[in-house]
């Protein structure tokens, strides 16, 4: 087993045991990125990473994360490192400050090696909306890695980094984690500061970890959660994220969401999820059916709320303060031409949809109603958690789909998030773990819990991970 096959926790242990160094680990991963054939990264900061690794190796006492490399979704600002959010609108942009979550990881001893590819401004489910390039699924290079954090997911699956950060608005961490056969978690809304995250839909956006083990996801979460004075929506975290150790699910009531196991879920995905439910019972858990009647209205609700919020958030991109600008005769022309030239088709579509939904005469019919459906969803989850400890469903209705398969039909692409969106609308934490294969491609199992139930979710995910023994190595990958 090579250095890159170790989990982040394994790499930290190897450094502490004197078996390797941060410099050696960073070099091994940079070499893998340089030989990249899945196009996971948009920018690589090789010199910065090497310098930081040398610094950490020279410290008399190593910081907790010991100099292990990490990849960062390009939606998160890193000072002086080109940050584009996958858009030509920010081509060449070098942020003047670092996102709080990244700064916390750097302070804890993680070494940022680069910025990962994504759908433009995090809008998409395949990373094909990146203005720069497609990222390929490590399990099948003819298929998408999922999205919008497709680069972060592919980089971890391909072992170019042991772990990475992504952001999740309607499923953008969980769905690519599922499609790439790794672990991805969206924590409770407000758990991780969004200062320095380029905003998409502020009532939904959350930062979270990708990893090849549940333990690593917990470790990454531990070093990122907590209140930040620079983000007034961030929360004081109650207690600490502990290292998950559970090996069974004794006494745990596990609800299966009826609405997310029916029509529209691929048979192969359902079979893998059913098999995982068998494992839940073998581990001592009780499986009970649960109904979330509004779950299937989630997609329509989300596609009012998220575009509406994005139309406001993306108003800041006008060519004046950052990024390229189109030549124009007057200010209005400059705004319209810059935005018309530099936003891609999906971003324009969502800005238009959101502007429409907020426009005078339509607000009550769309935005107002969507916010009320959201209340129903919050209530239904609360009722469900009176009866069960956690809820499970497929993470994605399908396995990774072929590149180009859905780019012509926006709503078909939106369907990729049908299972992840309800949890996002309710602001709850959820984790996706790989639970098996369908036709040789990974299937993700989503576990969701009440707000602040991260430790319980990670524990249950850890127990299942051990019993399912999924091999995260894509076929043919040489390390």
């Amino acid at each position: 087993m090579g250095l890159r096959d170790l989990t982040a926790a394994g790499q930290i242990a190897a450094i502490r045991a004197g078996e390797t160094s941060s410099a050696e680990l960073v070099e091994a991963h940079l070499a893998a990125i340089a030989a990249d054939d899945v196009d996971a990264f948009l920018a690589v900061d090789a010199e910065g990473a090497r310098a930081r690794a040398r610094e950490i190796d020279a410290m008399p006492e190593r910081p907790p994360l010991a100099g292990v490399p990490i990849g960062i979704k390009d939606a998160l600002s890193v000072r002086d490192v080109v940050t584009t959010s996958g858009s030509r609108m920010l081509e060449g942009f070098r942020p003047v400050y670092t996102a709080t979550c990244v700064a916390r990881l750097e302070a804890a001893g993680a070494v940022v090696v680069g910025k990962t590819n994504m759908d433009e401004f995090a809008m998409g489910s395949s990373t094909e909306n990146s203005a720069f390039k497609n990222t390929l699924n490590p399990w099948d290079h003819g298929r998408v890695p999922g999205g919008s954090s497709g680069g972060s997911a592919a980089a971890v699956a391909e072992r170019q980094v042991p772990w990475s950060l992504g952001s999740d608005t309607g499923g953008s961490i969980r769905q690519p984690a599922a499609l790439c056969g790794i672990v991805g978690m969206k924590p409770t809304y407000g758990a991780i500061s969004r200062y320095g995250l380029i905003a998409f839909a502020s009532s939904l956006d959350q930062v979270g970890p990708f990893a090849r083990s549940v333990e690593d996801a917990a470790l990454l979460l531990r070093h990122t959660v907590g209140r930040d004075p620079m983000d007034s929506t961030s929360l004081d975290w109650p207690g600490e994220i502990s290292t998950p150790t559970a090996t069974d699910l004794s006494g745990m009531r596990v609800g299966v969401v009826d609405e997310l196991m029916g029509e529209g879920i691929e048979p192969g995905v359902r079979a893998a999820v059913d098999a995982a439910l068998g494992t839940v019972e073998e581990l001592g858990g009780t499986v009970v059916p649960v109904s979330l009647p509004s779950a299937l209205s989630g997609l329509a609700t989300y596609y009012v709320l998220a575009p509406a919020e994005c139309s406001a958030n993306l108003a800041r991109f006008d060519g004046v303060r950052y990024g390229p600008v189109a030549p124009a005769a007057n200010l209005l022309d400059q705004y319209e031409t810059t935005r018309g030239d530099l936003f891609g088709p999906e971003v324009k579509r969502r800005i238009m949809l959101g502007t429409f939904a907020l426009a005078s005469g339509y607000y009550d019919q769309y935005y107002g109603r969507a916010q009320r459906v959201r209340t129903l969803m919050v209530r239904e989850f609360a009722d469900a958690f009176e009866k069960v400890d956690l809820l499970v469903s497929p993470t994605s209705p399908t396995v990774a789909f072929p590149l180009g398969d859905r780019t012509a039909d926006p709503y078909a692409m939106y369907m990729a998030d049908v299972c992840t969106i309800p949890v996002s609308l309710a602001g709850l934490p959820a984790i996706s773990i790989p639970c098996g294969l369908s036709d040789g491609l990974p299937v993700g199992l989503q576990l969701a819990g009440p707000a602040f139930s991260e430790n319980a979710l990670l524990g249950a995910a850890h127990a299942l991970e051990g019993a399912l023994a999924f091999d995260t190595r894509p076929p043919g990958l040489v390390t």
């Binding site: 209205s297 950052y322 031409t337």
Partner: protein
């Protein structure tokens, strides 16, 4: 469902220049998406209040102590045009 005039009006509100081809595609695609979204217009939502914040936080304040902001040269360093120590823009007409 959405006509050309609505597309042009919304594009103007959003400060987006669309080519005639883009307007046409946008009209078709938005109409298609709205057909799906219209499901929520048929739901019975009488007496259901809106949710704006899923995790309730109240009165988030900080001590009223001045702290330095972004230095001017840093704030301006990514701008395409800088004039008189500020962001440069064309005339407003």
């Amino acid at each position: 469902m959405i006509d050309d005039e609505t597309v042009r009006h919304v594009a103007r509100l959003a400060r987006l220049r669309l080519s005639p081809d883009e307007e046409q595609v946008m009209r078709e695609e938005l109409s298609g998406i709205l057909e799906h979204i219209d499901a929520i217009r048929a739901m019975d939502l009488d007496g259901v209040p809106p949710t704006t914040h899923v995790i309730a936080l109240e009165n988030v304040v900080r001590p009223d102590v001045p702290v330095p902001g972004l230095p001017r040269e840093e704030a301006l360093r990514e701008a395409a045009h800088v004039t008189d120590e500020g962001f440069g823009v064309p005339r407003m007409d």
